[in-house]
Symmetry: C2
């Protein structure tokens, strides 16, 4: 019999995807849909970055080095130095998006049956990469009441077994926007040292912190062999379609093994490596404008949400996501209802139900993720919709 | 303990990579190295294809659809029609190179412990993807004496077990250059029908056949659910660095499951999708020039090889590789010796030892793969070197 593999069956579908037909149907009815559901920024890719590709001058679109162009990796050394991370260019493997960096980490460090602890809610695609690698995700819950701070270290200790090989953090966090403090990072460091665990640190949103500078896992001392950074230029320069990321570690054995995975797939995309290399030369104040824009959006969305009856939204310190608790019965049902049964001023909004970000079944039913990737006027109009929607939603709980 | 995973340990290193330091050392000594070891064509990427990217006009480098831009997939339908393959655009998932298409096929259709039969010698990276998927590669031997024709079907039958789920072919073949005949393809069809197996057909070199047109696995009748094509624009348009391929099947269940893997990694590279889309509009005679060039190189290299004492090189019908049997003790040792201990006219050549292309230990010790990706003058000079080398190589066997 022609069968689909078990992992093919287990592979989770995108939690947002099931809503897409409803969004399309709404649009067909002439309703404007504000997309606060996705992590695709509306910020323009810096012209200088796109121009580097457009002005490129070569006649053969060749494979690059499997670890990425040496010139790009050397440029990345400069970039990492600017954020207080000292690495050598041969400690960097350029990947096809941050996605591939995560997959490489799982493939290189974890065997089928091994366990990886991830504070939930977490980036849903970690589940997919875990299925590909046959790895079990052990979620420990961070709570909206604390703004999704790092769960107590005892919660980690409780679930550590002989199969536990790594902890994954995303910092600043998608979906919560939480930015881990120095003290939380130091606690994690003690934990990984004590139990000899890898720390996979997804730092896609490194630059987008609004209170304090991000504390990178590579700022931690004495854990060089434990730490692997999964990085990407996608959000940093609004260059999601480039599919350029980086796998960064000082662990020589991990680098050597990961290079074999990198060689099997030959090379990361050539065009976008040119873009990434140019991006490192953006003016030092490049992020200021972007950050100010995101900050003002965050301030607006958080203020609007907390002003609604029964809604709670902690103030996220980073990334461009906010998680809100709504007075609703079921976030999947509510998000579908918004698209299927609701309109206000000929508009509605699309949100990400938080259920897809939790590993523990049943959690996130009253929570949604809002990506503030639209301008303030659009956010304002979307919040008007949400406010009205919560007044009439049949599954309202208080 | 921080350990590398078993698959990280098992993951094969590139069989050519171990020779790279010797090539670099030779170059440092001022020796010119003719690279006949790699599949990176020297043919220029069509200007029209590069220009499509250079003239692209967008302001945000966005994620594309996880299956690739709809406009590109619709264009690919047109391309496939031109090679006698009728598919719908939603039967195509655009991948990050042919590499990802292979990985997707293994991940979706095969479980850890399953077996996949591959005629050897085969593209070495299949081993890597098999390790990633936990799948066992069962090689069956094709022989240089027959020009690497499809092994007898009885050889397949002998190794089929309850764990066998798929057969992988590469047609025209890397590394042998062999192009499967209609009759061989029909035999494979009966086999996959009889045993309900998937046929993964890597058709990266589809256009490069010098005697007869390629017979695609999708030209076979009544096996729509069994056949998956792994495709790429890398060799077709000399666009290896674009990292754009395609996963093509009419099997709905396979498509649905594979889409989940595609969604997990978000999207294939955006820039090179533009290139791929433009390439479909190349003039109908585009391949003629390229093919004539490759054919004349093939004719030269095959003639030169067979004129050398004790050398046998079957005439390859496709791709841009030739496999030759040399009068040597050990192809790995010989290829290293060429770089480390030999020069002629201040030159030497780099070849790929065939051992890396065989799954059966011990095979390929007298064989090397030559990629005719250099112009005729360079090939000629490289053959001069080889001829001299075979006269003085200490491990010569006859």
């Amino acid at each position: 019999m022609l069968t689909i593999s078990k992992r093919g069956e287990m592979m989770p579908a995108s939690p947002i995807r099931k809503l897409v037909p409803y969004a399309e149907a709404a649009k067909k009815k002439g309703i404007k849909v504000y997309h606060l559901n996705i992590g695709q920024p509306d910020i323009e890719t810096p012209k200088m970055v796109l121009d580097a590709v457009r002005k490129s001058d070569f006649s053969v679109l060749e494979y690059s080095h499997s670890a990425g162009n040496e010139s790009y990796r050397k440029k990345l050394v400069q970039y990492y130095r600017s954020v207080g991370i000292g690495v050598d260019y041969n400690q960097i493997i350029v990947t096809t998006g941050g996605s591939e960096a995560i997959l490489f980490g799982f493939m290189t460090c974890l065997d089928a049956g091994d366990e990886v602890i991830i504070p939930e809610p977490f980036y849903a695609n970690y589940n997919g990469f875990a299925v590909e690698a046959g790895v079990s995700v052990i979620p420990i819950t961070s709570r909206i009441e604390t703004g999704f701070a790092l769960p107590p270290i005892e919660d980690f200790e409780k679930v550590i077994t002989s199969r536990t090989k790594a902890i994954v953090i995303c910092n600043p966090n998608n979906p919560t926007g939480y930015s881990y403090s120095r003290s939380e990072m130091e606690q994690l460091k003690e934990l990984i040292k004590k139990h000899n665990l890898y720390l996979f640190s997804d730092e896609a949103y490194r630059e987008f912190t609004y209170e304090e500078k991000q504390v990178s896992a590579m700022h931690l001392q004495d854990v060089d062999d434990n730490v692997i950074i999964m990085d990407t230029i996608s959000k940093r320069y609004s260059a999601c379609g480039g599919r350029i990321g980086a796998f960064v570690t000082k662990n020589k054995a991990v680098l050597d093994a990961t290079m074999k995975f990198a060689q099997a797939r030959l090379s990361p995309p050539s065009f976008a490596q040119i873009a990434g290399e140019a991006a490192v030369d953006l003016p030092a104040d490049y992020f200021n404008t972007t950050k100010e824009e995101y900050r003002s959006r965050r301030d607006l969305i958080v203020q609007r949400l907390n002003a609604m009856d029964g809604v709670f939204c902690p103030n996220p310190g980073g990334a461009f996501y906010a998680m809100a608790k709504l007075p609703i019965d079921d976030s999947d049902r509510f998000c579908q209802w918004l698209l299927e049964n609701f309109e206000y001023n000929k508009s509605t909004l699309m949100l990400a139900p938080a259920t897809g970000f939790y590993g523990t079944p049943g959690l996130g039913k009253q929570e949604v993720r809002l990506a503030y990737v639209l301008n303030r006027a659009a956010i304002s109009a979307a919040m008007d919709c949400l406010e009205q929607a919560l007044k009439i939603y049949p599954g309202k709980t208080n």
